[in-house]
């Protein structure tokens, strides 16, 4: 009987939770910046998720729950709890007083390259919001930071991305409005 329950739970886990593996991997890649490490992070995330799955309430937000576990695993792996962001944010704030118009005529490769160039602590919220379409609240829960900090990092991350793209576009000879 117990074995049947476990099989049923495993079946649900494989069908539902593993369905998010591609999305989680994309975020893990941004966090680790290394494919092999990202795959390891996903393995550890799912193992921990499976160990806690009996406590998960079916019907609640499985995706947000998995992201939260992913960042928990990541934070514990780097052994520094929450990342120190304040100095970076202050530094960045000085450099992005100017918000350039969004350049046009750029390829997906240009956009991806620009994303890679912005600091990870800004890159991750941008990917969570604009690629994975998590709500700001879900991002705050996953990253375990206040909602206001999420909004501030998103605003700065997006501005940095636009600046990178504008610089690239100017360098490539495209016209960018001032």
């Amino acid at each position: 009987m117990e074995q049947n329950d476990k099989l049923r739970r495993l079946e649900i886990f494989e069908a539902d939770a593993l369905g998010f593996s591609t999305q989680l991997f994309r975020v893990a890649l941004r966090v680790c910046r290394d494919r092999e490490q990202a795959e390891d992070l996903i393995q550890e995330t799912y193992l921990q998720a499976w160990r806690s799955f009996h406590r998960f309430e079916i019907g609640t937000n499985l995706r947000a729950w998995l992201y939260k576990i992913l960042f928990n695993v990541h934070y514990s792996e780097v052994r520094r709890g929450r990342p120190e962001l304040a100095p970076i944010e202050e530094m960045i704030a000085e450099t992005i007083a100017y918000d350039p118009p969004t350049p046009q005529h750029l390829t997906e490769e240009d956009v991806l390259a620009a994303l890679e160039r912005i600091p990870r602590d800004f890159q991750v919220p941008v990917v969570l919001a604009d690629v994975e379409e998590l709500s700001y609240r879900e991002i705050a829960d996953a990253l375990q930071i206040p909602l206001g900090t999420v909004m501030s990092r998103l605003s700065r991350g997006r501005k940095l991305l636009r600046m990178e793209l504008a610089n690239y576009a100017r360098g490539a000879g495209y016209q960018v409005a001032n």
Binding site: R26, L115, S155
Partner: protein, 322 residues
């Protein structure tokens, strides 16, 4: 709102994170300011490029297999049980059937007949799509006035109900406009999960009347319209004697409002929203399907049948005469 405020709020608007009132203010500003309208379009494109570029990154099959194996090992599931989880067809009554199927030729025959039936059905459906000639597809093109009326109906009418206390009910007077739209909100409810119904009424936009359901989701507004498929609704100036259902939804974006439309024989169902095109696309299918299905059945019950074969032009169109 000035351009600076608009730019600061723009990304949150595109994420659906703003209050409904602020969304409306954003749209009003975009309507007046072409520079900000351009910036809105550019940021939408940037988001789409980001999504598209990142979506190419996938875990290797080997890593995925290794992940499954580790979870199963962690779960203490042996090879036999893992096969059961892998092959869902082995479970339940079908699992039992698999043990005895070779003893019952009748079951085999039944399965073959079912497979053949499915094949014929699928072939029939694809034939129906193939039967639409380029000329017939052209005949299904929506008119500019229908597009403009539906987009402005969404912007001009729906926005007045963003804070209306839902849920709403379609008034009985809708019967005078179109009896098939009585209880429209109940028919649509099947596909309206996650949406809050704010209003249900008949309204006019331009020269066109619509049965109109207004929903909100997060900071976004969504409209479901049902209108008559008359000669003004189609670019050709005539409604053809076949529906557009085999084409799937016809999509367009006008003044930053994404719209998708399905054509039954006598009516057009439209879903308009100020959410992103992707979100509208996902909603379109879900929200419109039960309504389209209801209308299709109503029309079939009224003795209206599609005539695809032999369609050669508007002179053969019997539906335009009523």
């Amino acid at each position: 709102m000035d351009c600076q405020n608009f730019k600061e709020l723009l990304d949150s608007y595109l994420c659906g994170e703003l209050a409904v009132e602020t969304n409306h203010t954003m749209l009003c500003h975009a309507e007046r300011c072409c520079v900000c309208r351009g910036e809105m379009a550019a940021r939408r494109r940037l988001r789409a490029s980001l999504r598209s570029a990142c979506s190419k990154e996938k875990m290797s099959d080997q890593a995925m297999e290794s992940l499954r194996a580790r979870i199963r090992s962690e779960a203490g599931v042996g090879a036999q049980a893992a096969r059961i989880v892998n092959g869902k067809w082995m479970r339940g009554w079908f699992g039992g059937l698999s043990k005895a199927w070779f003893l019952t030729p009748a079951v085999v025959a039944l399965l073959l007949v079912a497979a053949l039936g499915l094949y014929v059905l699928r072939r029939g459906n694809s034939d129906e799509v193939r039967r639409l000639t380029p000329e017939q597809i052209k005949a299904l093109e929506l008119s500019g006035s229908l597009m403009a009326d539906s987009a402005s109906g969404h912007r001009g009418c729906a926005v007045h109900f963003v804070n209306a206390a839902g849920p709403a009910e379609m008034p009985d007077s809708v019967r005078e406009y179109d009896p098939a739209c009585v209880g429209l909100e109940k028919i649509a409810a099947e596909g309206a999960g996650g949406l809050l119904l704010r209003a249900a009424h008949v309204c006019e936009s331009g020269d066109r009347k619509f049965a109109h359901l207004v929903y909100t989701r997060g900071g976004g507004l969504v409209s479901l319209f049902v209108t008559v498929r008359d000669c003004q609704a189609l670019k050709s100036g005539a409604a053809p004697p076949f529906s557009g259902l085999s084409l799937g939804p016809q999509r367009f974006t006008l003044d930053h409002i994404a719209v998708g439309a399905y054509q039954t024989l006598k009516r057009i169902v439209l879903v308009a929203s100020d959410l992103s095109e992707d979100e509208t696309g996902a909603l379109l299918e879900r929200l419109a399907r039960p309504v389209v299905e209801h209308l299709r059945k109503t029309e079939a019950g009224a003795g209206l049948e599609e005539r695809l074969v032999g369609f050669e032009g508007r002179e053969k169109n019997e539906f335009n005469r009523d």
